[in-house]
Each structure stands twice: as structure tokens, then as C-alpha cells.
């Protein structure tokens, strides 16, 4: 009986750890400690359309529009359109808020975490018209660029910009 309990216990432990292994951790995220570490994202060398959204778990309108970016994957050819979600969450919130959020909200997007707090040094590099309020979304394809200030209310709104790019 004791052996059976032990076996069952071990089985659960095994299953549990294999489930845990599927969890999203910080290693699944591109962490940029300084803005230069993600500057390549803003000057892609391929001909894909890159949709780069700046958000944070503490920003309610940002979180509200994330499902539209997720839905976008079903509406476009994902070989041609890439969604990059750049979180501006704070370092102290990574384990407490950011990682749990990623696990609770599975996403096909390319996840980035930008920890550079010297905002004044890099906000203009994203777009000179950006005041610093989030959310904002940058659409880039080669030399073409469109900066969207504010939130989206449907996946179609995002798609419309992609089509006009």
C-alpha cells in the first residue's frame, strides 16, 4: 500500500513537473535591459510587416486591446506579419505580475520586455510624435512606417492599418 502511495505520489510529481516545464518563464521572453538591445526590431531587414505594440500589465487599455493582437494571427498570413509585444513592466513586477500574466494569457506573439527606464533617451527613437503615454503601436515594413497613438477597439482596426501600409 505504501509502495502504491509512493508510486502515485511520484507519478503526480512527474506529471506536475512536466506541466511546469511547459510554463512560460523569463527565458521565453526577449529581455532588453537597454533600448539598443531592441533597436534591431525597429529596422527589420526582411520584407515582413512588423507590428510592434508597447504595453504593460499595469496599463488597463493596453491589456484590453491585447486580445485583438492575438486575433490578428488568425486574420493574416503569419509568415508575412509578425506581432511583437514590448512590455514596459518594471523589474520588480516580473515574477509577480508579468510572467503570471503571460501564462494566464497565452499568445503567439513575440514577447519582449524593455527594462530601460531612461525613457527620455529612447521615446523619440520609436516615434518623435510619441508623448510617452501607452498603449502605442508601430507598424513597420522596410522603409514604410506607421505610428498609432492610442488603443485599438477591434482586430479589424489593426488589420486596416496593415492593409493601408
Amino acid at each position: 500500500m505504501r509502495n502504491i502511495t509512493y508510486t502515485i505520489g511520484m507519478l503526480f510529481l512527474f506529471l506536475g513537473s512536466s506541466l511546469l516545464a511547459q510554463d512560460i518563464t523569463l527565458t521565453d521572453v526577449n529581455v532588453a535591459n537597454t533600448f539598443d538591445e531592441m533597436e534591431g526590431l525597429l529596422s527589420p531587414e526582411d520584407d515582413k510587416i512588423h507590428v510592434i505594440n508597447f504595453w504593460s500589465t499595469w496599463c488597463k487599455p493596453c491589456v484590453a486591446e491585447l486580445p485583438y493582437f492575438e486575433q490578428l494571427h488568425d486574420l493574416v498570413d503569419t509568415e508575412k506579419v509578425c506581432v511583437h509585444l514590448v512590455s514596459l513592466d518594471f523589474e520588480k513586477d516580473i515574477e509577480k505580475k508579468y510572467i503570471p500574466f503571460l501564462n494566464a494569457n497565452p499568445s503567439r506573439a513575440d514577447q519582449w520586455l524593455l527594462l530601460d527606464g531612461k525613457y527620455n533617451d529612447w521615446i523619440d527613437k520609436v516615434d518623435p510624435s510619441w508623448s510617452g503615454a501607452i498603449p502605442v503601436t508601430l507598424f513597420i515594413q522596410g522603409d514604410k512606417k506607421h505610428f498609432h497613438d492610442g488603443d485599438f477597439h477591434s482586430a479589424k482596426e489593426i488589420l486596416d492599418i496593415i492593409h493601408k501600409l
Binding site: 496599463c59 518594471f90 527620455n120 523619440d124 510619441w130 508623448s131 498603449p135
Partner: protein, 197 residues
Amino acid sequence: MKYLFLLLISFASINCSISQVDGLDIGDTAPDFSLKNIDGDMISMANYPDAKGYIIVFTCNHCPFAVMYEDRLNDLYNKYNEAGYVLIAINPNDPEVKPDDSFENMIIRAKEKGFAFPYLMDEGQQVYPKYGATKTPHVFLLDTERTVTYIGAIDDNARDASGVEAKFLEDAIASLEKGEPADPATTKAIGCSIKTK
């Protein structure tokens, strides 16, 4: 005729770029306001005829960035009030969109943090668009004539006051004291968008 046409085009594009810029720029005269303070009084800049300058901070209760600067607002008040710089905080958010930023919650938060400066409600959201505030926190430094001398962030490190390397606002006040233009006169920082319906 061709030149006239070109001239017209260039005027059109100039007009276009001007119309895109909302709110105040450096050198503009900031409009006064009359807004309700948390103690129930109506506050205007005209209430302070002897002010050497005004530090107008658009801020709120709910935004993590605004919260991170609450203690620093108290420090700024303590440092500059005696010197004649009037610090006025204004909550630009629509409380129906963000109940945390209701007038009642402003009173509670101001008490908790011991704000000694006015904390006003931009009721009807008429004032923040005239200033061109886009987020919280967003600071406008005005001289005694209400001429804008600095727009932007309080400093370069929202997350950690002890890690600040550039005190943008304090440097701008020092420049104002010397009668020199602020350098930088504008800065940017991440913040929460102003909540509207």
C-alpha cells in the same frame, strides 16, 4: 504663377503642421484655470499674485507612474514653496472611466500622502487639452508671467528616486532663477494615458 502655386503649397503644409500641434509650447502663455481643490475651494493661478513661477503637474491616483512620484511631489513642494514656486497638481482623468480618480478618492489619497499643495479636479476635462497634457504625470513649468519654460518629466528615473541622474524639473527651475532657458526644455517619459470617454 508657378511660384505662387509653390508658395501656396508651402503655406498649406505649414498650416498642416501647426494644426497638428495641440496645447502649449515653450514660450507660450499658459491659460489660467479655476478648478475645485480637494478642500472644496476653487483655485486659480491668479490666487498667487506673488508667485515667482508655477509648477503645474497633471497627475492622478491610479497610475503607477504618478504614484511613484507622489513622495517626490511632496519633496518638490517642500523645497520650492518657500522660494515662491507654486506647485499645483491637477487630476485630468474622467472618474467615470477611472473610479480610482474620483474626487472622493483624491481627498483620501492626498490625506494618505500628506499633500500640502492643491490637488485639483479637472472637472469636465477642459484644462488638460489646453495645456496639451497627454499623460500622467506630465509637468509644465511656468514663470511669473505664466510663460511656459519647461514641459515633460520630473526626472529621468520614475522607478527609483535614489537612481535619478538628471533632475529635469529642478534644473529647469534653476535655469528660470538665472533667467536662462531650460536645457532640456522638453523631455519625455512613459506614463498613463489620460482617461476620457
